[in-house]
């Protein structure tokens, strides 16, 4: 058990290193620091001297991989790869290319609004979907089930954009329940978050119900259910008391991964409702072509994913001892 966990943790390091190198290749070899400098400087002042100066001010003026001019350890550490890419491994994300604000601070500041959007959506979605899927599963094979199944497919086939646009139109414009968009820190935030959360939940209903329904049906076909049925337990008790408990295992073991990924925010919702979270941060950086922020977010996303996966695996191995062999 312990050996498995240790092995699993050790595997995280090379994976992150790989991501790091990949990010570096994308952001420094394909798109050189010179390109970045010219982008950041205005039209009026992008002569070569200014480009050099910009690179110097942002720490891009050192060689990419090997600094021959430095001595000792500096040959490795005084390089773009070390200072801009590898440093992300120990949480040093550097500064934004455009605004010079510390990216790490900004990430910490924006993680909360992001979580305020994604966490309620996650929880509400989980509860509502499981509940509705149970209802559907109790009525499996009936007309209600078929109609619901079809409705789910229709729901799944609608673009998130349409949900957002329609939601904003009905709830904000026609019914005036919430502000159109925006955000405020502190307790005032709930009035801004209500609509994105509602839209987020509705847009995930279709696929959610279908997924959980399948999970429940898989479980229903198992032997212990047949036994319970033979014992004369009412169908819905079997569902709520036995099937639910067992079907939740695969659902809940995924939670650590999903919880961590919640931190990254929801780009669509944050952008549409102008919520200053990490998703919106990424999009703003993309539009401003702020490479430092984008590469930090890419790495952060991978970091959270890898750690989340690790936790999930550990959870699994705790719940289901058979996994350990894998």
């Amino acid at each position: 058990m312990l050996a498995y966990i240790v092995r699993r943790i050790l595997y995280v390091i090379p994976t992150l290193l790989g991501v790091n190198v990949l990010v570096f290749v994308l952001f420094f070899l394909v798109n050189s620091p010179d390109d970045m400098a010219r982008q950041a400087l205005g039209e009026k002042n992008s002569d070569p001297v200014q480009v050099e100066r910009w690179k110097e001010a942002h720490g891009y003026d050192v060689p990419l991989f090997w600094n021959g001019n430095a001595s000792g350890i500096g040959r490795v550490t005084k390089t773009v790869f070390f200072t801009k890419s590898l440093s992300m491994m120990w949480g040093d994300f550097g500064k934004s290319d455009m605004t010079h604000e510390s990216i790490g601070d900004e990430i910490i500041r924006r993680a909360l609004p992001s979580l305020c959007v994604t966490a309620p959506i996650f929880l509400a979605t989980l509860l509502i979907n499981v509940f509705l899927a149970m209802l559907v599963a109790t009525a499996r094979g009936s007309v209600t089930d078929r109609v619901t199944q079809f409705a789910c497919v229709v729901f799944m086939s609608i673009s998130t954009l349409i949900y957002i646009i329609a939601g904003q139109y009905f709830f904000a414009k026609l019914l005036r329940w919430t502000p159109v968009s925006g955000y405020l820190p502190g307790l005032d935030c709930w009035k801004f978050l209500a609509l994105p959360i509602l839209v987020g939940v509705i847009s995930s209903l279709g696929s959610g119900i279908r997924l959980y329904r399948t999970l429940f049906l898989e479980e229903i076909n198992k032997d212990y259910v047949r036994t319970a049925r033979a014992k004369g337990l009412p169908e819905w008790q079997i569902l709520f008391l036995h099937v639910l408990k067992n079907a939740m295992i695969p659902i809940l073991t995924n939670v650590p991964l999903q919880l961590l990924m919640l931190m990254m925010g929801n780009m669509m919702l944050e952008n549409f409702f102008s919520i200053p979270g990490l998703g919106g941060y990424t999009i703003t950086a993309l539009n401003a072509q702020d490479f430092a922020i984008v590469r930090s977010m890419v790495f952060l996303g991978s970091l959270l994913y890898v750690v989340g996966l690790l936790l999930t695996d550990i959870c699994y191995s705790l719940v289901d001892p058979r996994i350990r062999l894998g």
Binding site: W177, K191, S274
Partner: protein, 746 residues
């Protein structure tokens, strides 16, 4: 028996747990419904923090991000609106008077130039440029003007700055500069202007107006190299102390570095010395490049602790203006509050009859500023702005073209008026033509569209006829604009309106409607034949393909391109779009690798020179390697000659004639298709008083006044949520849920 018993107890157990489950489910259902109702009751669409909407706060917004508020660097209109409320200049424009008139602000009077001839004698009147060898402006600044409270003026126990050598950790507790415990102020003196002007010479700042200033202020280049040397010395010094230069840039003492063009006479007097005649210099004194910069502020923002805590001069400007910054989150919003140290400044008491009729003189003589607090909110999209304006959460708004017909009606005389629905809500509309020119530029260095041969001129004229900007204005701007006849927008000296101003090469006068219209398309086709492209087919037998260069892409720019392509196809020309990122696009502009681009120019000051210099050959963006403003790279010795003569001349019949001559040359050569001058329509709510748009000066916020009670009342009236659909849904859930529970039991 035993078997029976065990099985019955099993069923019993199931029944019991089933009962419990049912209770839980019922409770959950009720709880859910109750929660929904509570949430519905609490619904509000007020986008501001509680209590804000009813306070004396002016709400406005910005949609493109702020880059810097450093008065030496900032050059965007939206930044100017913030910065010019915080800092002040020697002179400014009168709030009400039109045409624009300069009045003293920090100076005691509007400085007048004194011209000196070659031998040092004083020249009177309006001497010709080449007779003048030196110009002096004597500026006396007002006494007793104090800076806003700011930690940089705070004095510590040891007499030094309160935050000298401060540790960033101790500053992390404060979320804003205004929360710092030690604040201070001091009187503004002439030295602060010295710092401001000398700072412009610092190449590290890359001030966008340096080259313009260096062309008329004496000794800017020498000062620049002095600063460079000084910076190098200081950098070496701090490097030896192991300080990272990129994070903690050094600050040379701008107070003592000599600048030939700036003579400090005493604490309240300085002299600005110009190397040549340049009457426009006085307009530059109305821009924030000339606002006083306290050296303490620069020292404060260079403190490593302050830098580490995330404060910088470009985000937290220091000034003497009516407002000061208390919150600065560039991607969320800014908050400005009244500067308690603001000097005695009063609302203007002279204005025109129409100003009086509009009630703009009601507050005459009252002390400024009126509004306690200004909130700048970051809004990326135009629609939420409009909706929030309608809801009463913004005080002013432009009219998005999508909403035009809901907001504007035409009066019988053809003028635009406010629609009855909007008027009923107590709004008012202000309209004015802006000092902006948008145009479709041709790259004059391009072998296909450029060049000054008669054929190429005709090609460009033909394209200009086909691209009818009146239609563009109708389609994209609801008619809110004036098609351009030349680069000069209406209201700028030298712009001729009406029949006399018609561009004879492209337009004609339509007496019936009293407007200029494009010449018929047949004329354009004739010109195409003369240009060697009959039906758009070139000498090589292939259709003429032109390239429209643009950066980025929005849905608006896409529609614009498609419209343009449609117009060009009338002449048989194929237009293709070359989209690149901004980076590459700027490269293309700098190196002249483009054909057509749509661009514009906003007046820095109300003088024709500020527009006509866009076509001066010396300013060619390729010729100057990116430093000039002449994007079309137009270069004609004939034009340059006329331009040089009118450049520094005082307004009068002679200058008028020269401007006419210059415009005529441009119209014939057609280095661009003259686009349009947008008309600005601004809606204001009834509770906002004293609003009058000013398209050059940006220090208007201190003049505004808000009647908060009226606003609160309006907000209450307009924003009552429609709750019955919500209740209906809750009722439905309740019904279905209880039915389901009932069915299960039986």
């Amino acid at each position: 028996m035993t078997e029976d018993g065990s099985s019955s107890s099993g069923v019993d157990l199931a029944r019991k747990s089933g009962f419990r489950l049912r209770v839980v489910l019922t409770a959950l259902l009720l709880l859910f419904c109750a929660l929904c109702i509570v949430l519905l009751r609490g619904c509000t669409n007020d986008p501001w923090p509680s209590g804000f909407s009813s306070s004396d706060t002016y709400f406005t917004n910005y949609s493109s991000e702020f880059k810097t508020f450093d008065p030496a660097v900032s050059y965007y209109v939206h930044e100017g609106e913030v910065l010019d409320s915080i800092v002040e200049m020697p002179v400014c424009y009168d709030y009400l008077k039109r045409p624009y008139e300069l009045v003293p602000m920090l100076a005691e009077s509007v400085p007048v130039p004194v011209y000196y001839g070659k031998s040092g004698e004083v020249l009177t009147g309006d001497p010709p440029s080449d007779a003048v060898s030196r110009v002096e402006y004597l500026v006396r600044v007002k006494r007793g003007i104090k800076y806003q409270p700011h930690p940089c003026f705070g004095v510590g126990t040891d007499g030094k700055g309160a935050y000298a050598g401060v540790d960033s950790k101790s500053l992390k507790a404060y979320s804003s500069l205004s929360e710092f415990p030690v604040q201070g102020t001091r009187e503004m003196t002439a030295v602060d202007f010295k710092v401001a002007v000398t700072r412009l010479c610092d190449t590290r700042l890359a001030s966008p107006i340096y080259s313009t200033f260096a062309s008329f202020i004496l000794g800017m280049d020498e000062c620049s190299s002095l600063i460079k040397a000084e910076v190098a010395r200081l950098e070496q010094e701090s490097q030896s102390r192991g300080i990272r230069l990129e994070s903690y840039p050094v600050v040379p003492d701008y107070r003592t570095l000599p600048l030939a063009g700036f003579e400090l006479i005493d604490d309240h007097t300085f002299k600005l010395v110009l190397s040549r005649k340049y009457p426009q210099a006085i307009y530059w004194m109305a821009l924030h490049f000339f606002s006083p910069v306290p050296f303490e502020a620069l020292e404060f923002y260079a403190e490593p602790g302050v830098v580490d805590a995330g404060y910088s001069f470009k985000n937290w400007p220091v000034g003497t203006g009516a407002y000061m910054m208390t919150e600065c989150k560039l991607r969320e919003g800014l908050t400005l509050v009244k500067n308690p140290n603001f000097r005695d400044e009063f609302y203007p008491s002279s204005g025109s009859e129409s100003d009086k009729a509009l009630g703009l003189l009601a507050d005459s003589g009252k002390r400024l500023p009126f509004i306690e607090r200004i909130r700048f909110q970051y809004e990326r999209e135009s629609i939420p702005i409009w909706i929030k304006f309608l809801q009463g959460y913004y005080d002013t708004s432009g009219i998005p073209s999508d909403m035009y017909d809901a907001a504007v009606t035409l009066e019988t005389n053809g003028d635009m008026g406010l629609s009855p629905e909007m008027a009923a809500k107590g709004m008012a509309m202000t309209r004015s033509v802006t000092a902006i020119s948008y145009y479709l530029g041709f790259n004059m260095l391009d072998p296909t569209v450029g060049g000054l041969t008669p054929e190429k001129k005709k090609l460009r004229q033909a394209i200009s006829i086909a691209v009818d900007y009146q239609e563009f204005i109708d389609v994209f701007m609801n008619g809110r604009g004036v098609p351009g006849q030349s680069i000069l927008p209406p209201g700028i000296y030298g712009c001729v309106e009406g029949e006399a101003g018609v561009n004879p090469f492209v337009d004609q006068w339509d007496a019936e409607s009293g407007k200029t219209v494009r010449q018929p398309l047949a004329r354009a086709k004739e010109l195409m034949v003369e240009a060697g492209y009959p039906n758009g087919i070139g000498p090589d037998g292939k259709p003429l393909v032109l390239y429209y260069d643009a950066s980025g892409s929005s849905s608006q720019s896409k529609s614009t391109f498609l419209w343009l392509r449609d117009k060009m196809s009338q002449l048989g020309i194929v237009l293709e779009e070359r989209l690149t990122d901004l980076n590459r696009f700027r490269d293309k502009i700098r190196t002249g690798q483009w054909q057509l681009q749509f661009t514009g120019w906003v007046a820095d000051y109300p003088d024709p020179e500020n527009f006509l210099f866009l076509f001066c050959g010396e300013n060619g963006i390729v010729a100057t390697q990116g430093r000039g403003s002449n994007k079309t790279n137009y270069s004609s010795s004939e034009y340059d000659k006329v331009f040089k003569r009118l450049e520094t001349m005082a307004n009068g019949p002679e200058r008028m004639a020269l401007i006419g001559e210059a415009v005529k040359i441009l119209q014939e050569d057609a280095p661009c298709c003259w686009g349009y001058h947008p008309m600005s329509l601004v809606l204001t709510h009834g509770w906002l008083k004293n609003y009058k748009p000013h398209h050059v000066g940006k220090t208007f916020m201190k003049n505004l006044r808000i009647e908060s009670e009226a606003r609160t009342e309006y907000q209450k009236r307009e924003n009552a949520p429609v709750l019955w659909p919500g209740y209906l849904v809750v009722l439905l859930v309740l019904l279905v849920g209880s039915w389901r529970l009932y069915v299960w039991r039986s």
